[in-house]
Subunit: 334 residues, 2 copies
DNA sequence: TCGAGCGATGTAATCCTTTACATCGACTTT
DNA sequence: AAAGTCGATGTAAAGGATTACATCGCTCGA
């Protein structure tokens, strides 16, 4: 039937509800004998404290919500893992929400914060949910909201990310260093700040070598299909080095390159972004920019927990190091 | 500061809390003018009902929990997507928990059900969390718990899955049909019922062609690395056709095959399982068994919602169709 | 021997919403 | 004009747990 309540447990153990509550939350404040008796009843009844009631009373849910724009992107999985572990260490559980890039779903998950179902929110997308505006306005940097990956200075939310401009720069420098002059870029959507940053870095690198005008820029959406669609055109433009802003797009591009009767890396070098777990198993092994995915999640949680505990050091922006991983999808031209 | 409560809204709008509550939940039972006045105050204060209090009172959280054993496996992402959409249609939100195959984490998420934080649970792993035993014992098939993918008859939980034995059979038949006699299998862990079923089906197919003794069976854990590790040995055994119980393992195997100086499919044909989004972009395009991932999630939710609404038709086991997708990682021998 | 001090436990207010039931005014019906 | 309806709103009792404060025995010191 219905779950047993603390009242039933108390009655059956011959103590007050206060004592039962103490047994559950502060066992040391209860005499050994009493504790044992209560625990026996708890066991036999299968009693579980009602979290809604507890949350209502304590204003603490012991839970952190992590929202991702696309749960099928393995990149986020690793970030979530890192967050999960750090949260567990700090006494919080993590629940995940998939917003599918849909603002109304983002809002719905954000409501879990406003309504106190969770203590804090880490959002991995690029847009601060509208519903959070009032909260941010009221609490500013003390609001329990942290962004991961997609730093956007104007939203005024603490954030953990890599230096995407520098990373974009590194990728293009790598291609240029291999002798490529006709370089193609498949970016993310324009609204994505990380895509803008990577693009800016890439252009800067090209500029530096006087190759800015020969850069071929195409817009993708981080999915394999979206870059595959651009490949025929890029091939026609004579591109020999291709920088895709995600590993999935790199894989899509390589597949399309072969479809076009060409070879990666013999005809076209391709470099990706993220270093997904599968990147090293792909054929050819993917050259890519590795992000410290786990650490991004971990640090985001630490930032959040610090806010939740009223820590006064408002470290608001954390930049983590990235790394160029060279495998076999890029090689010297010619 | 702290969030506004219904009492403040009521005071400011000059009505009772009951009216405010009605405006939020049953707008039609409130006079037009009053409703507008209240909504204005709600807006200006940024009032959001406290979900803990509401849940406590109504015993309904409007939320479904989906737990996955490994969130980095893209297979589950698609299942979650399907579940999310179906849940939304039924008026429920979905939250996801990553258990990392850890029983204690499974238990912790299961507690969200016992404690009424969520109305129902869909678990995608193979093990019923211990914490749920009492609940299942009490409520039997009316417990709001559904399993996805990993049907295990002994746990007595409604479930949605494909016919894994038949699928395993199809895969091996495909290889045999291409002329392969020395067939290798990389399974999942022994504890996984789906792995056992696929293995049984595969053996049955081999048996049928008198090839049972030549079957080379190795145990993996669904990860790319785990199958890559077995490849040198399998190659030494003269295997020409390899059936991996996941696409990730197929990709790992293909990578290792190349590492060994051989080619897929020229020397060894490889068939995977799941038809991940990336399967068609892999080199070579992966031959694989496609599962209706989205529909699995969707049907699981429908089963669950039916239970939640006290539906009396205890359809407990749903078998969905699978499909062999032939791409270029398998070919005629010789 | 008596009171201070202390550990263990009980009492009861509180967290915020929902909702059955009561109330109230206005309108219809006969 | 009295009685009955009806729609809109208010009143107050849950719902289950936590915790400040009160209480009750005891022990210990003087």
């Amino acid at each position: 039937m219905s779950m047993p309540t603390i009242i039933q447990v108390a009655a059956m153990a011959g103590v007050s509800t206060a004592t039962v509550s103490r047994v559950m939350s502060h066992p040391d404040r209860v005499a050994e004998a009493t504790r044992r008796r209560v625990l026996e009843v708890v066991e036999s009844l299968g009693y579980k404290p009602n979290v809604a009631a507890r949350t209502l009373r304590t204003l603490r849910a012991a839970k952190i919500l992590v929202t991702v724009p696309d749960i099928s992107n393995p990149f986020f999985a690793s970030v979530i893992r890192g967050a999960e572990e750090a949260a567990r260490d700090a006494g919080y559980a993590v629940v995940v929400g998939d917003t599918r890039h849909d603002p109304s779903i983002e809002d719905q998950y954000a409501d879990m914060l406003s309504s106190r179902e969770v203590d804090g929110l880490i959002f991995l997308g690029h847009r601060l949910p509208d519903n959070l505006r009032p909260l941010m306005a009221m609490q500013g940097a003390r609001a329990p909201v942290v962004n991961g990956c997609e730093y956007s200075p104007d939203i005024g939310v603490p954030s953990v990310h890599i230096d995407n401009a520098a990373a974009g720069c590194d990728a293009v420098e790598h291609l240029i260093g291999l002798g490529h002059h006709d370089i193609g870029l498949v970016t993310g959507p324009h609204v994505s700040p990380i895509s803008r940053d990577r693009l800016a870095g890439a252009m800067q690198a090209a500029e530096r070598h006087g190759l800015r005008d020969r850069l071929q820029v195409r817009v993708g959406d981080y999915s394999a299909q979206s870059s595959a669609d651009h490949v025929p055109d890029l091939v026609a433009q004579g591109v020999t080095g291709l920088f895709c802003f995600s590993d999935e797009m790199a894989m899509g591009a390589i597949s399309a390159i072969r479809q076009a009767g060409l070879s990666c890396p013999d005809d076209i070098s391709v470099i990706g972004f993220d270093d997904l777990p599968l990147a090293r198993f792909f054929q050819p092994g993917l050259t890519t920019i590795a992000q410290p995915k786990g650490r991004i999640g971990q640090q985001a949680v630490e930032l959040l927990v610090n806010i939740l505990q009223g820590g006064d050091s408002p470290v608001s922006q954390i930049t983590l190091p990235h790394e160029l991983v060279v495998r076999s999808s890029t090689r010297l031209i010619g």
